[in-house]
Subunit: 431 residues, 2 copies
């Protein structure tokens, strides 16, 4: 089954909105073994949408539109689908009643425009929307099926998960494609690829590497009637070859893994941040309930604040500046003790774009203090990717990932040095 | 002039990458008065790309492709453009020499694949790329001009700004469209729209509201030969009507504005964060050189840490919990004094998704302590947008924006209460 996506909205062409809906839908469809063969964005223009739906169904079996289902006069997707099907828009009594009840309950008059949201192309299927007010639509056209979903992300996602994906999966039959994503952090893509040569050579298996700053997702894909069994074998071998480099699978994130490891042990962490300016804290508080294992932190951004708040010796700072392994170590011990946490995590470094205290951009020292003792200090260079205007954001993000992975390894008692050495060798080989 | 965008890459259809390139290009082209009429994503497939380029130039005057210019065998955009033009790929001697020199300097052998990056369609123009290795290409086709740019964002952006935009602007002639974006924070869209009714009614002027969590960008567009003069009039009136609600224009961001105001006064800020977990610090350190005006902060996430690190009275925390205006005030004074900053900024609240200490999601107290005295405490409710899975991230982001805007107003000595009252009235009207 081939599916095309059609996103409707001037704001996307103008770049005011990034097309996150299309990416989300592409992922979800791929997870269900359904191939997205094209993704198109067009303006809020009736005839353009009608033409684009026709073109899509000339190439693919189904088209999923998002956007243009709201109440205002530039929302014309439902008109376009009616025109494509050669039918009229009719007022759906059930939708109209729901709309009137809702407005009455809020003690407000019904705007005439709002009734547009109760109109549907004659014969269209209504797709329940437990998350919002606009239902999705299913319209059978000569070339295939068209689904129309709202552009509001959480409404679109709800209808996709509750209705569209199950229906398409049923049309598709038994999936011929199986996929699994494994996640690594703080290891170079080339190190991983070298280790996985044997998996890449397996029959019926495709290996893709999806790099983010300091993270690499490994996507294993198996194709064919035996895909599920093939995939299981490839995953097992990948896990054997990479061992503790893999921190999780599918939607796992490093912060969730760290929280889980701490919670299992009844332990806590506090972080002292310099170049990341709070990003480690932000990451460790992204998840609800994180205060059980993350107590808080100190953002010691200006150099003298490292002494004031964390007791980093003033002499050390005077002599070596803020970017030094002993500073990272003192920060880790300081934040652990001041907050009374099991672990203290600390980072200090040069985010750029300019060097600092004679140290180049990308120089970063990380330290972890554990219950009772300083556990590790690593550095000094992140594998900085080229230059460019985004260098500062990339280095800050890489530092967060390296720091959380170092903490994960220390909690698990893994050999930290080994990985650092590998990264070093790899760096030398590349340079 | 009508332009279409064609993004090439399996990873976009699979949703592994979000199409940020298309959004960036759409914005930049719109800023130059050039209309993007369609944006298409296709797979790394030679014939599909050839067909898509032809379709695009059947509708528009120019097509800009991104992606598929790398050295591997799935990079086929240059082959597709050669096929579309009916010419061969030839090895460009200049590009080949640059490639060989670079590899020799690194003391490495030349991979045979790498030479593909020195091939160009016969007769194509090479677009210099000061940011990276792959040049862009300009190919004149029967239906119009095709530009091919690398998919790496900072390389694409460099070639767009240095070559493509100036060339297209020259083909376009005198711009008929003029645009200006003004930025507001912590004020509701409906409050702004009500005030701007007069501007919306101006001849030849379009007003668009682009909301982000707690921010609204106002985009004024003037069309026609007199667009520049019309726009200036609309901007002047908008600034009169909104006054200090406008914190900046175009690419200004709240953190940059706050840094600039502090630097002009020789002042500094420190922040105490609870529900934001470090996001305010991260925002205030995003810009290089920010340590001149942002000293650091305390992330007092767990309740007892607010007492330990900032001296918030334990009795206050016992009696009222962590989400209370007096707690915010004590945090602001505490962080100002402990870091020796001119201003202390503090936030405490409920990010959700569950209520805390009996207080509903979205309850947030903000406080600013200034040189010598506590300046303001506001709260308790952010205008929370519905529910949904993303509620926690949205409330954290809104809190950052409200906090930075409160600080901006206090530095400028603006009447903080007035805006809070307006937001309150608006909220009551909406509820």
């Amino acid at each position: 089954m081939r599916v095309e996506l059609l996103t409707v909205g001037d704001e996307l062409l103008l770049g005011d909105t990034i097309n996150g809906n299309a990416a989300w839908m592409g992922q979800r469809l791929a997870d269900h073994g359904i191939e997205v063969t094209r993704s198109v964005v067009v303006a809020d223009d009736l005839d353009v949408i009608v033409a684009a739906v026709g073109e899509a169904l000339g190439r693919a079996d189904a088209v999923i539109t998002t956007g243009g289902l709201g109440p205002t006069y530039d929302d014309v997707t439902r008109d376009a689908l009616a025109k494509a099907a050669g039918v009229k828009l009719i007022l759906d009594p059930g939708l109209e009643k729901r709309l009137r009840d809702r407005v009455a309950a809020a003690n407000r008059p019904l705007a005439p425009m709002a009734l547009r949201m109760a109109e549907v192309p004659e014969g269209a299927g209504l797709l329940g929307n437990s998350a919002g007010s606009a239902p999705g639509l299913r319209v059978e056209l000569p070339g295939g099926v068209a689904y129309a979903l709202p552009g509001v992300p959480f409404e679109m996602r709800t209808i996709m998960d509750e209705v569209v994906l199950p229906e398409l999966a049923e049309r598709e039959g038994v999936p011929q494609v199986a996929r699994k994503t494994l996640r690594t952090a703080a290891v170079w893509e080339s190190v991983i690829a070298t280790r996985l040569a044997e998996v890449e050579a397996m029959d019926g298996i495709k290996v893709a590497y999806l790099p983010d700053p300091a993270e690499v997702k490994i996507r294993l894909t198996a194709v064919g009637p035996d895909s599920v069994r093939l995939l299981a074998g490839a995953e097992e071998r990948t896990r054997e070859l990479l061992g503790s480099m893999i921190y999780g699978a599918e939607d796992d994130t490093l912060d969730r893994v760290v929280h889980r490891l701490l919670a299992e042990r009844g332990q806590t962490v506090a972080a002292a941040e310099s170049l990341t300016g709070g990003l480690i804290g932000a990451e460790l508080t992204a998840m609800p309930g994180s205060s059980a294992t993350y107590l808080g932190g100190e953002i010691t951004y200006a150099t003298e604040v490292k002494h004031q708040l964390l007791g980093v010796p003033a002499e050390l700072l005077r002599e070596h500046g803020a970017v030094h392994p002993d500073v990272a170590a003192a920060m880790a011990v300081g934040v652990r003790d001041r907050l009374g946490a099991s672990y203290g995590l600390a980072v200090t470094g040069v985010a750029g774009p300019e060097p600092q205290d004679g140290r180049p951009v990308g120089t970063v020292f990380l330290a972890v203090a554990g219950p009772g003792s300083l556990l590790s200090v690593t550095g000094p260079r992140l594998p900085v990717p080229g230059a460019g205007r985004e260098i500062r954001a990339v280095i800050r993000r890489m530092t967060v990932v390296h720091a959380l992975d170092l903490l994960r390894r220390e909690i698990l008692g893994l050999d930290v040095e080994r990985v650092t050495r590998e990264a070093q060798e790899d760096r030398e080989e590349k340079s």
